[in-house]
Amino acid sequence: MYIGAAVILVVLLAVGSLYVAPPKQVVTQTVTTVPTTPAAKIWLTYADKSSTGKADPAVGSDTPAHRLYPNLYDSLVEFDYKSPANVIPSVATKWDVSSDTQVYTFYLRQGVKFHDGSELTAEAVKFSMDRMMTMKQGVSFMWEGRIKPGNTEVVDKYTVRIKLDKKFAPFLGTMPFFWIVNPTVINAHLEKPGPFGDMGDYGMKWLIAGNDAGSGPYVLKNFKAEESFDLERYEGYWKGWKPNQIYGMHFKAVYEQATIRQLMEAGDCQISGSFQTTEFVKWADKFPGTKVAYSEKPLQPHYLTMNTKKAPFDDKWFRKGLSCLFDYTTYIDQIRIVGDQRLIGPMPRAFWGHNSDLKPYEFSVEKAKEYFAKSKYSDLSKVRELTFSYINVIEYERLAGLLLQAKAAELGLKIKVESLPWGQYVDRVSNPEATPDIVAVTQQGFYAPDPDAILYSMWHTTTSISWSRNPAHYNNPRVDELLDKAREATDQAERTKMYQEVQAIVNDDAPVIFASEEVGFTPHSKQLNGISWNVPYLHWLGMYGMWWEGAPPKGSASAAMSPIAAVILRATKQFDAT
């Protein structure tokens, strides 16, 4: 009995000693690592529910990838973060385009240094493009069929020429996604034998393991795959540094929404990604220490696609009817909440060439009935039960399904709402037989706000065959013809006309319900500035443009050290309580 009590007392003391805070003393967090310097180095913590990413710039194409590459590497041209984004010089100071628009000559600035101190020259550009198109991964799809290894030539030390095999009007807008790697470093880390002949694995394994061969503002450090990594400032960056710019960033993979919120509330995390629940966004808007950066003009269309290869969706009038059963206003104002706008036709209005003559489908039961009456399947009670699928973690898509289901039920049309794991979705959309009836998708326009970025990958027949963004399996030869011609045409007015016709045809055919123009958002600490959403590929994290105001961020959340610990540490001379 007494032994028991004694044991419990000792345990309590031991545990208690771990968290009782001593009288105010400052314990520097960086005790055993970096010595503190007078001008506080601004280190951010970025916690997000995603992978650490593939650190090889020729390999990644997703959100985690674009958290890394804009910070570790440079490109010939970059986006200016305005809305809509323009392409401005970066490593290339200017460029010439041949009269047939198939040859681009870039003139590089001098003195751009890679992280190992060597200079970035035309040789590096050639090496990087050849590497990208040999490996054929990541964003190489942008240049496939237009650039082969060998199309890039070194004219002189600071001049490089790229030949396109076919005309490609959006070319310059794709170039911010082409990252320049350091040939010396890559060549020193080739693993042979590898899939690329003489070049072995082209250095991929070494880069993926958490190294960088870049010239960008930050260096990759402490890369622990799927756990965390650090980006630390590269002092020799060619653009130079101003006070209050971000010195470094700790990234942590945190997969639980509640945990991210607690970290932000406690000030342990200053920025997070854009896959958050609506409740979290509402909280971040209101919480005193945080705010949410929204994109100025929405760039992503959100569609409820209908499998046009399967009855009853093979009938245009049926699809038009269903388009009138979706309550757009409720969806945008009450389900999305974040400031989406109405999507008119297949392309958001932020892109040039938007067809302002298009008539959007209105939420109206009468109009729906009119359309249904014209279709083959006018007797809705005889139509089979349709399935509305959504990717399983995205709550607002489920609610959109319920919205549609409710209204359809009023007319006797049965719709079932069902969730789909991402893996299953990918499998099923490749095959028109297996593709879900109605599925909610968000389209990503990859490169600069050129209508080709949005319209081609969604509506061209070739993309509906491979695994793609086109679960509607829409095939229209006239649309294909226009899209192909428009991407090679050079006159903007001509291209505008063609894209407007494409939009008109697609709007009329209604292969999808045009649900909304989606707003992108980033929750972040109020003291962090310069977060821009005006880049075509959302989730692009450009830390160089950010800066911090006020007292430096707190740092780690470890509880203050207890007196017992402090005594031991002082005795073993392991820290100074300053």
Binding site: M1, V254, F446, A557
Partner: protein, 340 residues
């Protein structure tokens, strides 16, 4: 015959079990929908890119060749490349596995200690208030979902009272201890790095506490019923009649007889906890195997799934083997019973 041959037989059983696990998981991962190449390359991948990636990752070879390659690789130390992250799976697991085992070991140790103590208290005070409280705690322990109790405790203790960190394995500015075992607590003790030790201790308390609930409840119930069982035995009545001190009877004789089943339960609880550890790792962003496996399953990352499952399978088989071993040792009737 006897103990030795009993052990050897038990050991030989483990081989077909592990083999069976590997075949089963191999088939399952390839049957569930989703193509890892398409998932890894993204929606804009062209057919050319997909074919190229398949070639690079040897996914164009027939299934039995892929299986053989996996088995050979498993023994030669090449556990493949993650199709999702393109990282070396063994390198990743060398970090994640010790983290998970450390968490589970601390959790189970805690649950063993507290479970046995509370079980004894409940048994010796049967049907009194101590017993009732213990009953409530045990039923709560097995019924509360780990992620819920995890988030609740995190909110209360880490966010509201700010007593412990919100999550992670070690503080941000603290360098991890020099790698010896991969268990940060042990490694920091070996190198005398007290700062790292305190930081790791603070970080492990909450997740280990949460993870220990279900095990704690089970051990508590088991010890309680075993002890109550013992109370009605003849030797206890004899000892009481002889005037032996109560404490001696309970803690020396009754407990020893009850521990046999309790210890075997503890070994099983280690394996059982590995099932729930993914939830705890997610909530406290503890960089372990659980979360790694969950992400691998989402993306049909064959190599990662196979490696983790086979690794965990080995641990569980080992735990069961240990249970057999201990049980055979502690209760001689078992191994002699084997002969007949």
């Amino acid at each position: 015959m006897g103990y030795g041959s009993y052990l050897i037989r038990r050991l030989l059983y483990t081989i077909p079990i592990i083999f069976g696990i590997s075949v089963l998981i191999f088939i399952l991962t390839r049957v569930i929908p989703g193509d890892p190449v398409k998932l890894a390359l993204g929606p804009d991948a062209t057919p050319d890119m997909i074919a190229q990636a398949r070639r690079i990752w040897n996914l164009d070879k027939p299934l039995h060749m892929q299986y053989i390659a996996f088995i050979v690789g498993f023994f030669t130390g090449d556990w493949g490349i993650s199709l999702r992250t393109y990282n070396n799976v063994l390198a990743d697991l060398a970090r994640f596995a010790p983290a998970t085992y450390e968490l589970t070991a601390v959790a189970v140790s805690f649950s063993a200690l507290v479970g046995i103590l509370t079980g004894i208290v409940a048994a010796t005070h049967k049907d009194k208030w101590q017993d009732h409280i213990s009953r409530i705690l045990s039923i709560g322990g097995v019924s509360m979902p780990l992620f819920w109790s995890g988030i609740m405790l995190q909110l209360l203790i880490a966010s509201y009272f700010k007593l412990l960190p919100i999550g992670g394995r070690i503080g941000d500015g603290v360098t991890p201890p020099v790698h010896v075992t991969g268990f940060y607590l042990l490694d920091s003790l070996f190198s005398g790095n007290w700062i790292a030790f305190w930081s790791c201790a603070q970080h492990i308390i909450l997740p280990a506490f949460v993870l220990s609930f279900p095990s704690l409840a089970n051990i508590n119930r088991l010890v309680r019923s075993a002890m109550i069982d013992q109370r009605s035995k003849d030797y206890v009545i004899l000892q009481e009649a002889n005037g032996m001190p109560r404490r001696l009877i309970v803690y020396k004789y009754m407990l020893k007889n009850s521990l046999a089943s309790a210890i075997t339960m503890i070994a099983l609880m280690f394996a059982y906890s590995l099932g729930g550890v993914a939830l705890v790792e997610a909530v406290f962003f503890w960089p372990g195997m659980g979360n790694y496996l969950v992400q691998a399953i989402h993306f049909k990352d064959f190599n990662a799934i196979m490696s983790v499952v086979v690794l965990v399978g080995i641990i569980i088989v080992a735990a069961n083997f240990l249970v057999d071993l201990l049980y055979g040792y502690l209760d001689p009737r078992i191994r002699y019973g084997e002969e007949r």
